[in-house]
Structure formats: structure tokens, C-alpha cells
């Protein structure tokens, strides 16, 4: 099939950027979205143009490195799917596809579709951990954990840190990301000693980075490749109210 791509090109943080139109031909329905961009880039290189920069690594939906807003939807319209796992069979011959980077002030554009998500790392630095030096841990069976809690903690912990939640949120909020970590650690007995300080510090950091506030629109969970539930935000809110007062 043949497609018209409208791609955001921006040559660096200082450049103002613009949408550029490309035609790609002979796209196979079995290609992944990124493989389609690979084909475009191979051609651009041979034509002496600058290939489109985009982040990607594992290409199996787990590293969280890839991500672009495709036709106005973070990671494209296919539910629970990262960009690398999106396949071209979901597009039609002759389609026009708009491709933009995550848009949020705390995620400045590095180049084209590549953004800097260091803000997420700094939110984790603020408290997204359990302090335990190597070698000091008690036997793993010394503290049983209710299966339900372990399962819920796992569900929250499957977050891949891709940033789609921020990209999709009309407020540019990082609540789903932050809350997923708070919930994961808060559900486990090992996470209790630091539970209060963790939620306060992480919420503060999230605000300091310049993310917007949550207004419960649910756009985040709808685009989340791992389907992280809004429950985690509710949990964060509860923990925060308890800890902050």
C-alpha cells in the first residue's frame, strides 16, 4: 500500500520545527510501524536527506523507548499496543498518517520525534524505590505477601515508562506514571516504612518538573500500552492525603 506521512521535523531543541510530508510506497501490511519508518529512512539516507530521528530499542513492546503520537493518538489507535508493536495492516492504502512527538513541556524535543524523558527518572529518584543495600535482605519467605496484593502490585509495576500517559493527557499530567510506582511499592509490606515520604516526595517532584494536574479524564489509561488502571491514581491520592496532613 501507499501512504502519505506528515512527520514532525525539528532539528534540535532550538529549532521551531514543522510538519513535512513524505510519500512511502509499497508498504507491506506485515511491517511494523517502525519498520515502515525504517524504509522511509533508508530512502532518505540514499537521497542525501536527513533521516527521521525516533527512539526505539527492544521493538517488542517492553522497553518503553518508542513512542509517537499517530493521527492524534499516543502509540496509535490500536489499544494496549506500543508503537513498535503496531502493524501496518491497521492502515489502508492511500491513508494520510500524522506523526508527532510526545508534546509536554517536561519532555523537550531533542530532535524530530525524540524527546527527553529524564523527568520520569527524576520522579523515581525522588522516592520510587525501597532502600535496601545489597546483601542486607532477610530471607525472601520471612514476610509472606497476600497473593491479591502481590498481583495488584505486579499490575501497577508493569508500567514501561514510555510517557504515552503524559502525551495523551489534556493536562500533560504524569499522574498515571507516578501513581503506578507509588501503588506498586505501597501494596507490598517491604514498601511500608517509606510509604508516606515516598508519595509526598514523588508528587512534589512531579509538580516541580512541570507536569499538569490530573482531572480524571481517563485518557492516560486508555492509551497505556500496559493498561495501567486509574485505580493507581486513586491510590496515590489517598496516600497523599493521608501523608501530607
Amino acid at each position: 500500500m501507499n501512504l502519505t506521512l506528515k512527520v514532525w521535523r525539528q532539528n534540535g531543541p532550538a529549532d521551531s520545527g514543522r510538519m513535512v510530508t513524505y510519500q512511502v510506497e509499497d508498504v507491506s501490511p506485515d511491517m511494523s510501524f517502525l519498520e515502515m519508518l525504517d524504509v522511509l529512512n533508508e530512502r532518505l539516507i540514499l537521497e542525501g536527506d536527513d533521516p527521521v530521528a525516533f527512539d526505539h530499542d527492544c521493538r517488542e513492546g517492553i522497553c518503553g523507548m518508542c513512542g509517537m503520537v499517530i493521527n492524534g493518538v499516543a502509540h496509535g489507535e490500536q489499544r494496549a499496543t506500543t508503537t513498535c508493536q503496531l502493524h501496518m495492516r491497521h492502515f489502508k492504502d492511500g491513508d494520510t498518517v500524522t506523526i508527532e512527538p510526545w508534546r509536554a513541556a517536561p519532555f523537550p524535543v531533542v530532535k524530530d520525534l525524540v524527546v527527553d524523558r529524564g523527568a520520569f527518572d527524576r520522579i523515581i529518584q525522588a522516592g520510587g524505590f525501597i532502600s535496601v543495600p545489597a546483601g542486607s535482605a532477610p530471607d525472601a519467605h520471612s514476610i509472606p505477601v497476600k497473593k491479591e496484593n502481590a498481583d495488584d502490585a505486579f499490575d501497577a509495576a508493569t508500567c514501561i515508562g514510555c510517557g504515552a500517559c503524559v502525551a495523551a493527557c489534556p493536562n500533560g499530567s504524569a499522574s498515571l506514571f507516578t501513581a503506578a510506582k507509588i501503588t506498586h511499592l505501597g501494596l507490598l509490606p517491604q514498601g511500608q516504612p517509606e510509604r508516606d515520604s515516598r508519595v509526598v516526595a514523588m508528587v512534589e517532584q512531579m509538580d516541580l518538573e512541570g507536569f499538569g494536574g490530573c482531572t480524571n479524564t481517563g485518557e492516560c489509561t486508555a492509551v497505556c500500552p500496559k493498561g495501567i488502571s486509574l485505580d493507581v491514581i486513586s491510590q496515590m491520592n489517598r496516600d497523599y492525603l493521608k501523608a501530607a496532613n
Binding site: 540514499l46 533521516p51 527512539d55 520520569f120 505477601v145
Partner: protein, 641 residues
């Protein structure tokens, strides 16, 4: 390509005495570093996967000044994150007869008697601490209703010793290490450099003293100096272009270290995983693994007749060849990875493969669905079926899956001693980047174990012994300048070669050569052919590659070209190693060396050694042999008939 044989390696620094006491002995004999001195000692850790992330976090916690580097935008992206199955540990929580000794025994045997006993025993000992550490960090392992940890048996092990977190064990363990690392970054003990790629090693006065890195965002070439350098840069499966590795996985860091004098151990040992989603066309950029557990209920078959292109449903039962069940009646569809992989290749070579290009075999669940019902199958494999359908667009409940083997893990890597130190003093290598614990074949769920054992427990002890003699004084300016010159020279050359092929297209072609001639089955003839083709292609690459853009700023095409250049050199050494090792063992199968049944036939008389290759500036590699002695496990031939 030729090679010469150098001095054998006689001392691996493993302590003497009963095997179960050796690690204790080493821990006691290792010199300690005074806490006040730790703050003055700098360590560079390259790579932030399970090994590198856990090492940087632990060394930071101990009080060293650590600099950590990764090429991704965050340390959490390292490819350890993609490991699905689980992590082995000799906890014996089930009381099913597991023990440290049994895990040790299974690992040595699984490695086809090409791993060091001392190292493997230590790995099994430390395995129990890893689970404790991970649980304390909040890794949400699967649990039973009683609240205790669940385990499963994995990869044909007879005991249930694999801890897991659904199909995302690697992700959960990596996030544990990542969070510990971020905590140290916040504490100021670790300085993190994301989007930085190591391009060379600085050696001064015979010691590894720093790295040359490129800031991938600005393009700036930076020098970072330290008292010791730790490489945790993963495996080199991407030399095949198509593999289950992440796109960015590369050999550059370890290859540059090899060029600077670190021996490369067993480069030819490659693990090929039998159940991956096959290639769908020339555009394919990577391969996706599907859990091996699928073989518990799926039946593998191909059409009996060559070139039979009917839809699978139209091929009647008597015109199908369930070849694994036919050739290996005892184990059937559950034969080990390498055997299943080779059998698939053989039937495809006969022209009986299915799907695009005839490179695939069916994995059929019709019987299982008939026997257990669709619901039961969905419960067990629902997420895998979904993943398959997402990628192929075919419904595996209706149409049998197509699978094909893919490169998955490289057991080879930089040679290290018992202390995980390479042949360059001060250069330590951990995780998949070293060659150590898996011999010629890695068991399922052992990669995560080794990465974390190295990073949390082994390296932090052994590196102290080295650093106790530090700090090591000034670094020679000439050494830095020379390394910087090498790096900028290579980048300049890549950018100035204005040819008409992309680096990716060369990489693809190199991958095809490697897959064809140095893949699942190797022969003297195929390897000689590869050794002829690789230098030719490399020559063409250097004269005809087209790398757009400039040195400054983000230039992903330049990053890729630099990696491909090093893959060429590595590929050559892999083929040479494979050629010299005329026996078959583990993941290395030489067609000339097989039993009557087509099994890998070892030649213990001549090849019970580690092949440690030294780079020589003249271009002729020097082979150093490290003999392997087996005091505790007796060498046997494996059989799965």
C-alpha cells in the same frame, strides 16, 4: 584468516580447596578498602542492565564514586527488561530435592561441560541471595495463596526452582535494579550519563583507566577517567542482524576493549531459540521470542511433501510430518532448544518449510484445543496467542502458529578470571558481556541469575581487592590522546565515505552470511566461505557506506554505522573460533562432529578448554587455551532420544 597459539592460561585466580568453600575463601582473602578511601576511588560502569545497573547501585551504596553510562534515554530501557521466563535460584522452597549442588550440576551439564566449575558453583551459591535482595526491593514475584513465592520448573529442569513475575520477570528485576540505581543517583554517589555510547577504552600504565564516549545528543566526544572500568554491555547477538536482541545491542564496547588487549572467550558460542515468530519479509528488523512453554501443548509439524503450499487446514493428517515426535519419540516436542532449532532448519532446508520464504514450521494447538477445550488453552497461553496475532495478523486458535529459530543469547564474551577481571588489569566484565558461567549453552532462566549475581554480589567484593591498591595516579595524556584520535578518526572516516549503500543494508547482508554459514549448523566449508565473504564485504563497507549528517548532534545513522563496523571484525573472530573448534558442543554444532542420531558430539580429549583470543595488531589472532578440569561433575554425553 589464520591464528597462532599462544601461552595457555594457567591461573584463573579461583581459590583452591573444596568447591563449596572457594567463594568464602575469596571473600576473606580479598583486600578491603577503607571507607574514607572509597570516596576517592572512581569507577566507571558501562551499561545499565541487570548486571551494570545492580553493580553501579551497589558500588555507589558502598561509597565509591561511580559514573554510569547507557546509550538509551534511561537506564531502565536496557534489554534485560525483555527477559520473559524467570530466574533460577537454589532455594529449595518446594522441598523437591533442589540444592546449590544440583543447580551447579545442572548448569555445568547444561553448558555441555565447557564452563568453569568454580564460577558456576559460586553462581549457584549466590542465587539464593538474589531472590532475597529482589523481594526486599519490592520485586512483585508471583505468589501462592499462602503468601509465599511461587516457582515453576523451566527449560526441562526436574526441580521447580524458577521464580517468575508472570511473563515479565526481566522487567521486574531490572526495575528493581534501576530503582536502586536511581536512589544512588539521588544520593549523589552515582553520576548518570544517559544517551552516551562508549567508543573506546583508555589504558594507562597497563591499567584500564577510562573510557571515550560520545554524547549521542550533542555528538561531543568526551573522556571519562577512573580507577577501574566495568563493562556490562550485554551480548552481541545482533551480529546476525536479526535476533531477539534490542536494536541498539552491540559489540562496540567489548570489541574496543578486545582491541586494547582483553581476551575474547569462546566467541562462537551462540544460543538459538527455537520458538520465535518467523521473518515476514525483507523489511524485518528484529525477531520476537515466544515463550518456550508453548511447546508443552503445541505439536510441531511441516508438510510431508516438498513445496506443498496448501493452507495448513487443507493438509490431511497423513500428509503431515510431526518430525520432532518422529525423530525423538521419547522427548517429542520438548527436546532442548538447540535440537529443536536444528531440526526446524533441516526440514526447511529440505524445502518443506512454511510461510514467507519457506522459513517456518507449524506449531499446532488443534489437538490441545480438542483435548482441553479452547478455554483451557486460552487460560494458559492467552497472552502469547494475542502477541502472535498482533504481530502476524493470524489467529492461532484457528490456524497453526508459524515459528522459526532465532539468535537469542551469546555465551561467549570477554574472558574474565574468577574475580570477573579481564586480561587488562582494572577492566572488569560482568553479565552477558563476559564469557563466564554458561559454557557452550545457557539454561533457561539462568541469564537473569548471572547478571544479578555478578552485579550485586560478586563484583562489589572482587573489585575492592583491586582498588585496595589504588588510587592509581595520573593517566598518561598520550594514552587519552591516542584513544581520542582513534575514535574521531573512525567517525570522520564513516562520515566522509560518500558511498551509495546504507550501514543497515551492510548489516543485513553480514547477518545473512553469519546466519547461513555460522548459524545453527556450521561446517568447515561454510565457515571458510564466511571467512572469505566477511573481509570482502567489510572492504566494500568502508569504501561504499553512506552515512548522512554530521558529527554534531543526534545522528542515529552514524551510531549504527559505527556499530556495524565493529560487528564485521567480531564476525570474523566468531567464524575463526567456530572453525578451530572442530567438535560440537552446546550451541555450537559442527556438522562434522555428530553422533549417529545427529546429536552434538563433543571431543573432550581435544577441546575441553576455553578459547581465549588475543587481538594482535598484525591481524593474526592468538589463541590462549584455558584447560577445564571437572572434579565434581563427570563429563557425559547427553541424549534426548
Amino acid at each position: 584468516m589464520n591464528y597462532t597459539v599462544g601461552e595457555p592460561i594457567r591461573d584463573t585466580k579461583a581459590p583452591e580447596g573444596p568447591i563449596e568453600d572457594r567463594w568464602d575463601k575469596r571473600r576473606f582473602s580479598a583486600k578491603l578498602v577503607n571507607p574514607a578511601n572509597k570516596r576517592k576511588l572512581n569507577i566507571i560502569v558501562v551499561g545499565t542492565g541487570l548486571a551494570g545497573g545492580s553493580a553501579a547501585a551497589t558500588l555507589g551504596e558502598l561509597g565509591y564514586k561511580v559514573k554510569s553510562f547507557c546509550y538509551q534515554d534511561s537506564p531502565r530501557r536496557a534489554h534485560s527488561i525483555a527477559a520473559q521466563g524467570g530466574i533460577n535460584a537454589a532455594k529449595n522452597y518446594r522441598g523437591d530435592g533442589d540444592s546449590i549442588h544440583r543447580l551447579f550440576y545442572d548448569t555445568v551439564k547444561g553448558g555441555d561441560f565447557r564452563a568453569r566449575e568454580s564460577n558456576v558453583y559460586r553462581l549457584a551459591q549466590v542465587s539464593v541471595n538474589i531472590i532475597d535482595q529482589a523481594v526486599a526491593q519490592g520485586v512483585p514475584f508471583a505468589r501462592e495463596y499462602g503468601g509465599l513465592l511461587d516457582t515453576r520448573s523451566f527449560g526441562g529442569a526436574q526441580v521447580s526452582r524458577t521464580f517468575y513475575a508472570r511473563g515479565q520477570t526481566g522487567q521486574q528485576l531490572l526495575l528493581g535494579a534501576y530503582q536502586a540505581l536511581e536512589r544512588q543517583i539521588a544520593a549523589g554517589t552515582v553520576e548518570m550519563h544517559t544517551r552516551h555510547e562508549m567508543l573506546d577504552l583508555v589504558i594507562s600504565d597497563g591499567r584500564a583507566r577510562g573510557v571515550i564516549v560520545r554524547d549521542l545528543v550533542t555528538g561531543e566526544i568526551e573522556t571519562h577517567l577512573a580507577d577501574a572500568v566495568v563493562l556490562a554491555t550485554g551480548g552481541y547477538g545482533n551480529v546476525f542482524f536479526l535476533s531477539t536482541n534490542a536494536k541498539g545491542c552491540n559489540t562496540t564496547a567489548i570489541w574496543r576493549a578486545h582491541r586494547r588487549g582483553a581476551y575474547f572467550g569462546n566467541p562462537c558460542y551462540t544460543q538459538i531459540h527455537p520458538t520465535c515468530i518467523p521473518v515476514s519479509g525483507d523489511h524485518q528488523s528484529k525477531l520476537t521470542l515466544m515463550s518456550e512453554s508453548l511447546r508443552n501443548d503445541g505439536r510441531v509439524w511441516v508438510p510431508l511433501r516438498k513445496g506443498d503450499d496448501r493452507a495448513p487446514g487443507d493438509i490431511p493428517e497423513h500428509e503431515r510430518d510431526y518430525y520432532l515426535e518422529r525423530i525423538y519419540p521419547a522427548f517429542g516436542n520438548l527436546v532442548p532448544r538447540d535440537i529443536a532449532s536444528r531440526a526446524a532448519k533441516n526440514v526447511c532446508d529440505e524445502g518443506r518449510g512454511v510461510g514467507p520464504g519457506g522459513l517456518g514450521v507449524y506449531l499446532d494447538f488443534a489437538d490441545a484445543i480438542g483435548r482441553l477445550g479452547r478455554d483451557a488453552v486460552e487460560k494458559k497461553y492467552g497472552n502469547l496467542f494475542e502477541m502472535y496475532e498482533r504481530i502476524t495478523g493470524e489467529d492461532p486458535y484457528v490456524r497453526p502458529m508459524r515459528i522459526y529459530p532465532a539468535v537469542h543469547y551469546t555465551m561467549g564474551g570477554l574472558w574474565v578470571d574468577y574475580d570477573l577481571q579481564s586480561t587488562i588489569p582494572g577492566l572488569f566484565v560482568i553479565g552477558e558481556a563476559n564469557f563466564s558461567d554458561h559454557g557452550a549453552n545457557r539454561l533457561g532462566a539462568s541469564a537473569l541469575m548471572q547478571g544479578l549475581a555478578d552485579g550485586y554480589f560478586v563484583l562489589p567484593t572482587t573489585i575492592g581487592d583491586y582498588l585496595a591498591n589504588g588510587p592509581f595516579g595520573e593517566v598518561e595524556q598520550e594514552a587519552v590522546d591516542e584513544a581520542l584520535g582513534q575514535v574521531t578518526g573512525k567517525i570522520g572516516r564513516l562520515l566522509s565515505t560518500s558511498g551509495n549503500r546504507t550501514a543497515d543494508s551492510y548489516h543485513r547482508e553480514l547477518g545473512k552470511i553469519m546466519w547461513e554459514y555460522c548459524g545453527m549448523e556450521r561446517t568447515e566449508e561454510s565457515l571458510r566461505k564466511a571467512l572469505e565473504r566477511i573481509p570482502e564485504l567489510r572492504e566494500e563497507f568502508w569504501n561504499n557506506v553512506k552515512v548522512p549528517g554530521e558529527e554534531e548532534g543526534l545522528n542515529q545513522a552514524l551510531e549504527r554505522a559505527g556499530r556495524v563496523a565493529d560487528f564485521f571484525d567480531l564476525a570474523e573472530l566468531m567464524c575463526l573460533d567456530a572453525l578451530h573448534r572442530t567438535e560440537s558442543c552446546g550451541g555450537h554444532f559442527r556438522a562434522e562432529s555428530q553422533t549417529e542420531d545427529g546429536e552434538a558430539l563433543r571431543d573432550d580429549e581435544n577441546f575441553a578448554y576455553v578459547a581465549a583470543w588475543e587481538h594482535s595488531p598484525e591481524g593474526t589472532p592468538v589463541l590462549h587455551k584455558e584447560e577445564l578440569d571437572y572434579e565434581y561433575v563427570h563429563m557425559t554425553q547427553r541424549s534426548y532420544k
